[in-house]
Structures are given as C-alpha cells and as structure tokens.
C-alpha cells in the first residue's frame, strides 16, 4: 500500500504542479470531504447492522449460521479458530445476500480475529480475495439505475453478472490456492 500510495501521489502531484498547481490542495480536500460524507453514512449503517449482529450473537443464531458454513470454510480456509469462523460465515452470508452494509464490519472483525493466531496468512489472503472479487448475487444498484433510465429489460444483465462474478471469485480462489503458501 505504501508503494502504491507513494508512487501514485508523487506522480500525480508532480504533474499537477506543472499543469494546475491550485488543484493539488483542492483535490486533496475534496477527496477528504467525500471520505467524510461516506463515513457519516457508514456510522448509521454499521450501527444498525452491528446492533443486529449483537442480537444474532446473543441468541446463538450466529453459531447455527457458522455450522452451515463449516464445510465451505474448511475447503476455503483450512483449519481456522472457531470465533473467526463465526465472523467469516456471517460475512460470507451477508455477501451472498447483497447486504452490503453488513459485510464490511464482519470482514474487518474476521481479519482482526484471524490475526490473533500465528500461521493464518493463507486464510487472511483467501478471505480478502473472496471479498475483493465480489460474491454478490443480485446487482441491485445497477438494476435500480437501469430502471430509472428507462431500460426495456433491466434484468437482462443479472445472469451475465452472476456468471462473471462467479468466474472472478473462482479464479481468485484458485490463484490463492496455487500461489500462496501456508498452513491449509
């Protein structure tokens, strides 16, 4: 991240000094403003979802969800600590169902939990790649946009999107299995 950030920012600022020196600070501030707006939206979404998750946890329903995902988790991540398995299962189910507000808090908790144990680099990489290749089944925001712009059949793109997103996840999982070494 340091390399990417360092390179991209240095080159961008270098170019802007030559072309538009006033733009540097205003671009940075407008980026900051967008981040703040997103953060404000996220506080609300996360508060609601974390509240729901706490209920899930206290009622013991989260253990049941984790049990359902156990074979999947074993195949993908190998042996992982039980608590991390709970978070991962909830993250994966939220992903599949397109509850985008719920995936992130559970995702971060999964990684923090996995990190507590040595030899989990493989599981962390696999988990990240699955999230970053998107396993969402219904592309709801695209559907909404298509409908609002008067598409004749907005649902046309559902099947190709599902196929493409499955493909990216499968390729991601295979690449991790091939290239990342570590405890399975």
């Amino acid at each position: 991240m340091n390399i990417i950030f360092g390179l991209a920012v240095t080159v961008s600022v270098g170019i802007l000094i030559c072309t538009n020196p006033d733009g540097v600070l205003s671009a940075m501030l407008s980026g900051g403003e967008k981040a703040l707006n997103l953060t404000l939206k996220m506080v609300v979404i996360y508060a609601v979802w974390l509240g729901i998750f706490e209920l899930l946890d206290k009622t013991g329903l989260s253990d049941k969800i984790a049990k359902l995902f156990k074979p999947v988790n074993r195949f993908l991540f190998g042996s992982i600590p039980e608590k991390a398995g709970d978070f991962i299962s909830m993250n994966l189910s939220a992903n599949l169902l397109g509850m985008s507000g719920a995936t992130t808090p559970m995702g971060i908790k999964s990684i923090q939990e996995l990190e507590k144990y040595p030899g989990t680099e493989y599981a962390i990489t696999m988990f990240f790649v699955i999230n970053a290749t998107s396993v969402q089944l219904i592309p709801s925001s695209v559907l909404a946009l298509r409908t609002s712009m008067g598409s004749a059949s907005p649902a046309d793109i559902i099947l190709p999107t599902i196929l493409a997103t499955l493909l990216s996840t499968v390729i991601g999982v295979l690449l991790v299995k091939i290239f990342v070494k570590g405890k399975k």
Binding site: I4, S12, A35, V48, L55, I108, I124, F128, S140
Partner: protein
C-alpha cells in the same frame, strides 16, 4: 422477493431473542455502540484512498492510463469506451457509477456497451478501497499478493463480461 428478505430475517432474530430471553434492547444498543469507534478507526484509511483517487483523476493520470491501455484492452475484447470504467472500479465505487450512467446516456441503456458496462460494474469490486478498510486495524502490511490476485481475477471477469454480453 428480495424486499422481504431483510425484514423477515430481522423478525426471526427478534422472535429468537424473545424465546431465548435475551434482552433485545440491551443487545442492540451494545452492538450499535461499537459503530462509532469502528468508523473512527477506518476514517484515516478512507481519507487516504479518496485523496489518492481524487489526485489521480485531476492530474490526468487516469486519462493517460486509459489511453495507454485502451489498445491492449481492445485486443482482449474490452471496447475502448469501457477502459476507464475498468480502471476506475478498483479505486472508487461512486466514480465507477458516475461513468456507468455517463455510458447509459451516451450510448443508450440497452446497447451492447451499456450492458457490458453493467456486468463489469456488477461483477468487480473496489479492490483498493476494500484493502484499505479491511486491513485498517490489522498488523499485517503484506497486502501486495492479495491485491494483485484480486485485480487479476477481476480483470479476467471483465474480459469474460465483454464476451458473454455478445452472446447473451
């Protein structure tokens, strides 16, 4: 169908909490409480990614890269009108959505280009943004391998998207 899903799910949890005699108000409040420190801990990472994206866009680097890569993408079957979308998506979801609606108005919602763009948008993720947020509290700084693998996989699905929209 999907409209019922979240409410029904929530109802089931609430019924369960009553059966199991869990205090629903206490549990919900307790969970919600953790949202503020949580978001505060993500904020610095979020702002870095947004500053990066904004500078990248304003300096013209993103246009430069899309012009540079358009012929390469074209060989792989990605139309040159979609190069920018493919490049922006890993950084910014809202940026990609803006390009998507631009494509809709320019080429028509039901055109091949628009459908293709939808599939690319829907099947890929904001990889850098997810990396920044998911690893916000993590000690690991070895992010290169996971990011590269995710980008390769996403790119493969973009190529596939342009192909499958030709037949479906």
């Amino acid at each position: 169908m999907s409209a019922y899903f979240i409410p029904v799910f929530f109802l089931i949890i609430l019924i369960f909490s009553l059966i199991k005699k869990v205090k629903p108000y206490d549990a919900f409040t307790n969970g919600a409480k953790s949202a503020v420190p949580f978001v505060v801990s993500i904020f610095p990472y979020l702002i870095s990614i947004f500053v990066l994206t904004e500078l990248f866009e304003m300096s013209g680097l993103s246009d430069f890269f899309s012009d540079l890569l358009a012929p390469v993408f074209n060989i792989l079957g990605i139309p040159k009108e979609l190069t920018k979308l493919v490049l922006i998506k890993p950084f910014s979801g809202s940026g990609a959505l803006a390009i998507l609606s631009e494509i809709f108005t320019k080429y028509g919602v039901d055109s091949y280009l628009a459908r293709c763009a939808c599939v690319i948008y829907g099947s890929s993720e904001t990889v850098f943004y997810i990396a920044a947020v998911y690893f916000a509290g993590a000690k690991t700084k070895k992010l290169l391998t996971p990011i590269v693998i995710s980008l390769v996989a996403s790119f493969a699905s973009c190529v596939f998207a342009c192909f499958i929209c030709l037949i479906l």
